[in-house]
């Protein structure tokens, strides 16, 4: 009996996983049907052929965006408002109980959607701005500039990103601004590589030659000729980079070196409430689950976009 007793949680876990998967399948099917019905012409056609994973991803992303944008209205309490004793259990006023300082856990999870995702989005956009600009310039100009930028990207990419960001954070301190800049610098080379490769294929086309002969400038070439023709892989890359950046920020915050208190943030929430896990509570896992859910969702959508743009039909 003792032995069986030990196995029960394992069965429970398997049953829960199966249940969650089934519920997710049903929900994504409904959401896809809704989108097919609501969206006009072209969008409806695209959604009809979308796999369930993609519609699940879209649903989660929209949900997070709404939670992030409307956080102050959705959350019952403020993000740093102390309303109970520390680690107070859940009741009808606090859905998930209180955290280590007696703040409402549920409200902080909602605000985390704004803070954690927001900072990750800003950092990714900055990395994209730098990396893509450098990549486009390197591809169109070529020559020594291309070489120098390329070697520079090689070196930065050969240092593991977590280690590099730890090194830089130890020097420049931990503020949101520093965090964003450091992460953008670390991830820009990856964007540069891809942009360089994609636009490198476009640059050799005849219509670019024609535009050059017309006497168009560098900026025109990039904006009107190259960018529109390398849009699809770049958007997919944005999604992928966002996942990496998001996980890195979550990891750094978990280590206490990312987003600083009292800002509600998923990574540091896991760390601060980790003691509850040794009492068998799952509340500290909820912000962590929020992180992986969003990453999975973005990955699903990116996967679908890559599949569509590559025209692979295996």
């Amino acid at each position: 009996m003792e032995f069986l007793h030990g196995w029960m949680p394992a069965f429970m876990v398997l049953a829960t996983i199966a249940g969650v998967l089934l519920a997710a399948v049903a929900m994504s099917w409904l959401f896809r049907a809704l989108l097919v019905w609501v969206l006009p012409g072209e969008g409806s056609k695209v959604m009809r052929s979308a796999p369930l994973t993609a519609s699940f991803g879209l649903f989660v992303i929209i949900l997070y965006a709404l939670a992030g944008i409307f956080a102050p209205w959705v959350a019952p309490y403020g993000e740093s408002e102390v309303i109970a004793s520390s680690f107070a259990p859940a009741d009808d006023k606090m859905l998930l109980g209180a955290d280590q300082l007696g703040r409402d856990m549920f409200s902080r999870v909602i605000f985390g959607a704004r803070n954690t995702v927001g900072i990750a989005l800003i950092a990714t956009s900055l990395a994209f701005l730098m990396g893509a600009t450098a990549g486009l310039i390197a591809a169109t100009r070529g020559g020594w500039m291309d070489q120098i930028l390329g070697r520079f990207a090689d070196v930065i990419m050969s240092i593991p990103s977590l280690i590099f960001s730890l090194l830089l954070l130890s020097i420049f301190g931990t503020s949101a601004f520093v965090l964003i800049v450091i992460i953008a610098v670390i991830y820009a080379p990856r964007v540069f590589r891809l942009t360089r490769a994609v636009s490198g294929d476009v640059v050799v086309m005849d219509y670019i030659e024609a535009a050059r002969l017309r006497g168009e400038g560098l900026w025109y070439l990039i904006r009107k000729e190259i960018l529109p023709n390398s849009k699809a892989p770049l958007i997919a890359e944005f999604g992928l980079e966002f996942c990496f950046v998001f996980l890195l920020i979550a990891g750094l915050s978990f280590l206490g070196l990312g987003i600083q208190p009292p800002t509600a943030d998923w990574g540091s929430m896991v760390r601060d409430n980790a003691t509850l896990i040794s009492f068998g509570e799952i509340t500290p896992l909820i912000p962590a689950a929020a992180i992986s859910l969003l990453t999975v969702a973005v990955n699903f959508v990116v996967d679908w976009m890559l599949y569509r743009s590559s025209g692979l039909k295996d």
Binding site: G6, P9, A10, V13, L21, T53, D154, V155, S158, I159, P160, L162, I163, F164, L166, L167, L168, L169, S170, I171, F172, C243, L247, A250, G251, F254, L255, G256, L257, G267, V270, R271, A274, I277, S278, F279, G280, I282, P284, L285, A288, A289, I291, S292, T295, V296, N299, F300, D303, D314
Partner: protein, 318 residues
């Protein structure tokens, strides 16, 4: 054979240059500190006299290039100076922890590599079935989860609820191997979950990439069973990408342990690095960064060399 050696030697030389540039970056990064190390250490309590004393002690009065060469000279023979916080030799505190980290990574790798490759072959064989779809969703979930999420789930179910394994991985050098393996099982399993998912996806992709080739078509047409097409015909040609992925994931293992070590309070080099970063103990941060970067580059090199050796076309260039 001579060509292989020259290719490998070229790669090695390239890796060495990269490492040198990285050491320069690590050194310059600390130089960028507003003020200097002495000011950062003393902070508010800095006076003219103790600043000057600390600068003399740390050798900060030498010009930067000279300090770089001294630091590099020390690093090559394994001397990274003394810690600013504990005043102990950095090398002495790093060595046992680095051994621990390598053991954990090795433990995870020994489980992960065979499991990942065989599962990858299986999903390639059963591609586009329900099994493949479920595997796809599960591996995506595993890749997308932060390591600490997986780690805490494992702690919750395998330690708190069932009591099968300890949640805190304390190890000591004199511990017998079996006990050590049991204590570090959960951190190793966390790493395995992340790495297996990634390797499995890449193995599947590498095999499926080949399935459109004419010789696979031929094998199918002559009536070879599906598993034999994969194992005998597709697999040998996908070794190069698979070896690449394995080496890259081992590189990931060595750096990805940082978060796992913190979750399980494992006395490894990752935790040392995190502590040093929050205490701003720069010699330790520099040493750990350099070691991590060197391991990372070494494994990347191994990936390159491995894919050369398994590819006859690269082994015998015309």
């Amino acid at each position: 054979m001579l060509d292989v050696f020259s290719i490998v030697a070229k790669r090695l030389g390239f890796g060495l240059i990269t490492l040198l540039v990285i050491s320069l970056i690590i050194f310059i990064a600390v130089e960028l500190l507003p003020g200097d190390i002495a000011q950062a250490v003393l902070g508010q309590g800095a006076t003219e006299s103790n600043l000057a004393a600390l600068r003399a002690e740390l050798g900060l009065n030498d010009p930067a290039p000279m300090r770089y060469f001294n630091w590099l000279k020390g690093a090559v023979v394994g001397d990274f100076g003394v810690s600013l916080v504990s005043k102990e030799s950095v090398t002495d505190s790093i060595t046992p922890r680095f051994v621990n980290t390598l053991m954990l990574a090795l433990y995870a790798a020994v489980i992960a590599v065979p499991v990942a490759i065989s599962l990858g072959v299986l999903v390639a064989l059963f591609r586009n079935t329900l099994f493949d779809r479920i595997a796809n969703v599960l591996t995506f979930t595993s890749i997308s989860s932060p390591e600490f999420f997986l780690g805490y789930i494992l702690i919750l179910y395998f330690s708190v609820k069932t009591g099968w394994f300890p949640s805190i991985a304390t190890v000591s050098p004199e511990m017998p191997l079996f006990e050590r393996l049991e204590r570090t099982f959960l951190p190793a399993l966390t790493l395995v979950l992340v790495v297996v998912a990634h390797m499995m996806r890449m193995t599947r992709a590498a095999i499926i990439n080949l399935l459109a080739s004419p010789y696979i078509e031929m094998a199918k047409l002559k009536g070879t069973p599906a598993w034999k097409v994969i194992v005998r015909h597709a697999l040998p040609n996908s070794w190069a990408p698979i070896i690449n992925v394995v080496a890259l994931n081992l590189a990931y293992l060595v750096t990805g342990v940082v978060l796992v070590e913190v979750v399980f309070v494992y006395p490894g080099i990752g935790q040392l690095l995190v502590d040093a970063v929050s205490k701003r103990d720069f010699p330790v941060v520099q040493a750990c960064s350099l070691i991590f970067a060197a391991t990372f580059i070494l494994l990347n090199l191994a990936a390159d060399v491995g894919s050369i050796l398994t590819n006859p076309r690269l082994r015998h260039p015309k």
